[in-house]
Amino acid sequence: MTALLAVEGISKRFRGLKAVDDVSFTVPKGGIVALIGPNGAGKTTTFNLIAGVYAPDTGRIVLDGEDITSLRPDRACHAGIGRTFQIVKPFGAMTVLENVVVGALRRSADVAAARSRAAELLERVGLADKAAMPAQGLTLPEKKRLETARALATEPKILLLDEVMAGLRPTEIDRMVETFRALNRETGIAILLTEHVMRAVMALSDRIVVLHHGRKICEGSPEQVARNEAVLESYLGTEAVS
């Protein structure tokens, strides 16, 4: 499989702290890759580097053959990056539907068309019944799903999901996993996710990249990673693998 997203040796320092340190990995076309690691490992920073929030100090990011290193976030979106925020950023005073319309307008200036596209996506993430509600009235897990729908509406080549299953009950997690599987199967969209919920990580991902103190300490299939000594020590040992 060819790489859709190639991250090549990226680093980012915040003052003295190396938040991301020479990290490389790829996400194949249609693949689902998980980025895991303990708190502060650099997962969100890696997302922010890919999505253009920060420019990396070193390294290169290539999406579908196009060098997107240091592109502004809106340009990264145009290039095909769709992302959610770990700390949710809904358009609070706008309705749930309008939130997604904003995303859908990326593809069509026609508001009516964007509305119907947005309604479809709300159906997909299970928020159709909340469409007319102001987004600030949603629960946190619902806001995360809203962010997912909003990002999907821009029709990205790859979707970056930053802990979208946090705070969900196990049955809800299984439902979300199924939602993303179906999405990936039906549209061929690639997914890069970070998640502390190992149940979801194991069920969803083809490959797992493990970060620790900003460095990649392991990469492999879910089975390989689950057996890896260093990973067990630094991360999985402290979390229940279910």
Binding site: M94, V102, A109, E147, A151
Partner: protein
């Protein structure tokens, strides 16, 4: 549907007003419509796109002075002066917006920048001899033999219909903007700029557009002001008090809504006028009364109706 009916009733009432009410009340309505218009223009920038301008008197003044000076000094007719006024205001707005948004100035700092520009311009005009400097600029008030719309010379009734048409136009334009892609993008930027950017919105460009559109609309009010009042003083037209007056209507009526600026302007101006009348009927003269009244209105709304007067009414009417 209900909104349509309400709007039609309002339109009929306003069109019929000069035939029904006294000349004095027409002049009060002119002021109310004027504030409805500038409030609508300011609302595009703050209510829609979330960019707080506390210096909107700048664009009123620029519009007023451009058209009036061209008319007085070179005999340029107001409709041509209007185009010049819009261009000047847009140029200033673009410069301010560019400076602010390129260097990431936002929130309170942006608001301060808008005040600073209005103040600099006021001081500049105080020393700008061609437009009369601090001594003021006066438009010749010739005997009014009927109304000449193109020359913007005529009876108060003519000015009433001009400002009514402007207010209606601003309402229609705002409505159209709000339901178009640009309106969604502005609201997204207002609600969360980072999220907006992540969805592919060029926030710099859209914020700049909001400032420029709002300034262009506001400058038209300035042209109206100049030809209606016939005298301009930098101290007055560019003053921060004038900027504050502009923003009271939309805040009291409901920020970011379409009816808010209209409702707010009417509530404020009609109540203020009633108060002035009442007080003078008692034989009293209280300087600064209007300002105190504005302050009280603002306080009441902020405390009891933080979203303005319009949203609860809209809910009640199920609009």
């Amino acid at each position: 549907m209900r909104a349509r009916v309400l709007l039609s009733l309002l339109a009929v009432a306003l069109v019929a007003a000069p035939f029904v009410v006294s000349g004095y009340l027409v002049s009060v309505l002119i002021v109310a419509l004027y504030f409805a218009y500038v409030g609508q223009a300011w609302n595009i920038m703050m209510g829609f796109a979330g960019q707080l301008s506390l210096g909107h008197a700048l664009y009123v003044g620029l519009g007023a002075y451009t058209a009036a000076a061209l008319f007085v000094q070179s005999g340029v007719p107001p409709w041509l002066g209007l185009i010049a006024a819009i261009i000047v205001a847009m140029a200033f707005a673009a410069a301010i917006g560019f400076l602010a948004f390129r260097f990431g100035i936002s929130g309170v700092y942006f608001a301060l920048l808008t005040i600073a520009f209005a103040e600099f311009t006021r001081i500049g005009f105080d020393h700008f001899g061609w437009v009369g400097a601090s001594a003021g600029l006066f438009l010749p008030v010739s005997q009014r033999s009927g109304s000449d719309l193109l020359a913007l010379r005529g009876t108060p009734t003519m000015f009433y219909y001009v400002i009514l048409a402007l207010a209606a136009g601003a309402f229609a334009l705002s409505r159209w903007l709000l339901t178009s892609r640009i309106g969604f993008y502005w609201m997204a930027i207002r609600e969360d700029q980072d999220a907006a950017q992540a969805l592919g919105i060029d926030t710099f460009r859209y914020k700049l557009a909001a400032v420029v559109v709002s300034a262009a609309m506001t400058s038209i009010a300035g042209v109206f002001f100049a030809f209606y009042y016939n005298n301009l003083f930098p101290e007055q037209i560019f003053s921060i008090g004038r900027s504050i007056e502009i923003i009271l209507g939309p805040i009291i009526g409901g920020l970011g809504t379409l009816f808010g600026p209209v409702l707010g302007a009417f509530v404020l101006q009609l109540l203020a006028e009633a108060l002035r009348e009442g007080v003078s009927a008692l034989g009293l003269e209280i300087p600064g009364l209007t300002q105190v009244f504005y302050g009280v209105c603002l306080l009441v709304v902020v405390m009891f109706l933080p979203n303005g007067v319009w949203p609860p009414i809209a809910r009640r009417l199920r609009l």
